[in-house]
Symmetry: C2
Subunit: 340 residues, 2 copies
């Protein structure tokens, strides 16, 4: 059942039927009701392909699979992706994935995707401190929004959380509790979020007149092994930290294990704070002990970012969205004052 059939069935023109269905004001309410009823009755669904051709819009948003894969980073990605897909569906958009594979240049993927006009807009995730993609997409004329931020001269749409403020607050909490040697176990330093977190960490130390010790600052993939390895290194060092600040719960789990290896109790003998992206099956409150965290649900960010992108597509003239979400510091039971 296509539009023409439906129209002739109703004794109306395609124009009128199309307008009735799409909510244009030129159609009388009576006609609209009649049309809608008939459409329902016959199970009419407009052909996505035809609409796309006619409007030039694909009704599809694109996302590129992260090039660098690592287990718990993937978990963040999928939670974010889930949020995106969910709100895209609500807004009538599809989400398609492409993949930057092996050595094949990521740029080629983006170019190809853009040129075949398969997507109306793109979502960039995990931006690097210096990331070529915004400029690339700009030059290709493809609307996009970044989850996170990056250094760029030009304005671009983004949604980010206040990583710097979050880690500044967390560090401040630790310092105010009396901690002086605080270890930061961060994400990979090429990522902007990690740079921001380190900056917040340094801000707080500087504000309290503490010189950051480079030994105490490290980074790596967002998984348990990173936390374990770095924590062991530090616990076995000459002047071990009294507090750990981690970029993910998984890293915190590694720190916890390292502490156990050294007969220490994380959250009691040592303070432990982690950033919590609110993954479905990894709850800071179920940690032993319940973990003090900086928290911000990454799934919500996915939902919101699609809303913002779709709004951009619907009204390209509006100002580029630039949201920075505050991050809650949730104090639970893992942040004692340092042992004397």
């Amino acid at each position: 059942m296509n539009l023409r059939d439906l129209a002739s069935h109703l004794g109306l023109s395609q124009t009128t039927v199309s307008r009735a269905l799409n909510g244009f004001p030129e159609v009388s309410e009576e006609t609209r009701l009649r049309v809608k009823a008939a459409a329902d009755l016959h199970g009419y669904r407009p052909s996505a392909a035809a609409r796309r051709l006619a409007t030039g819009q694909s009704g599809t948003l694109g996302m590129i699979f992260p090039g660098e894969r690592n287990m718990l980073g993937d978990l963040l990605f999928i939670e974010f992706l889930g949020g995106c897909v969910e709100s895209a569906a609500d807004l009538g958009y599809d989400v398609t994935l492409a993949m930057a594979r092996g050595q094949q240049s990521e740029e080629a993927i983006y170019r190809r995707t853009v040129r075949s006009a398969r997507v109306d807009g793109m979502i960039l995730s995990s931006p690097l401190v210096t990331d070529a993609r915004p400029a690339l997409l700009d030059s290709l004329g493809m609307p996009f929004i970044v989850h996170g931020r990056t250094s760029s001269d030009k304005a671009y749409a983004f949604l980010d959380i206040d990583n710097r403020g979050a880690f500044e607050a967390a560090t401040r909490l630790l310092v105010d509790l009396g901690h002086r040697r605080i270890a930061l176990i961060n994400g990979d330093s090429r990522y902007n979020f990690a740079a921001d977190r380190e900056a917040g960490f340094r801000d707080a130390l500087r504000a309290r007149g503490i010189a950051p010790d480079p030994v105490l600052i490290s980074g790596g993939p967002m998984h348990e092994g990173t936390g374990h390895a770095q924590a062991l290194r530090l616990l076995d060092s000459e002047d071990p930290p009294t507090a750990f600040l981690c970029s993910s719960l998984a890293q915190a789990a590694g720190v916890r294990r390292a502490c156990l290896d050294r007969s220490l109790r994380a959250g009691q003998d040592l303070a432990l704070i982690a950033h919590d992206d609110r993954l479905q099956e990894m709850r800071a409150e179920a940690f032993d002990p319940p973990l003090t965290t900086t928290q911000s649900p990454i799934g919500d960010a996915g939902r919101r970012i699609v809303e913002l992108l779709v709004a951009m597509l619907r009204d390209p003239k509006q100002a580029l969205p630039a949201e920075v979400w505050p991050v809650d510091l949730v104090v639970r039971n893992s942040t004692p004052a340092p042992k004397r």
Copy 2:
């Protein structure tokens, strides 16, 4: 630059250009080369929307986000998805995701997806023992392929691994080593793969005249907590097992932790085998000790399943593919004979 422009540029008709580009035999080799060169030169990309409208094919494969989410299950999903996206790209297809959310019936999602003709075929993952989706898609006339199997009267396309054989072999290995009390920590029993694994487990025991003890058979999500909880329960029981067989490496990690809790060494004091889906960042060989596994790369399955589905779409008359991959039993260092 569209087809008409390109054609007039070349002094050819659209027909000829289209055929040259799409590899039809009616075009002289010389013309084809000329056309291709010009297309490259001008960066011509056919409009996906127009092609879709003209051919009635969307060039898109659909996948539904798993309704039930759990961390390491998600990891399997994303590894599989990555494989799918990768080979879809090679074959010129997009992959779009939909999501079965909350209480909204999964069926509605499938119906909607099918009716708007956004996808040419669908990939079903994580089939249940009794799963309504194959019959549903069949009745809707949507081509699909199942990753795994399910009980269904009708024939359907699938790619599965030999879960039953794998667990039969693993169990046999343990029995032949002298183990008599073997615990199975499986996936959720509603999933077909879990049922198959249990069947294989029982096969091997039966073949050796051992009556399976229901106490030793349990299941749950594919994560560390499941392995830990079940192993603790069993280790603390009256007649603890001497060997564990797990459905995932994550579960095996939990078993290992439970053993440590009880001052036992998994892989030395107790035998431990797990199924290994070959996730990027979770290597059985890096386990302590290196784990004996039944292994089958789930990413490869994703790649292959898309090949099969695309082949089905290109030639709907061919027989439905039905591949069952053998699973390697890789003996490493975690399967000692039982202690006397």
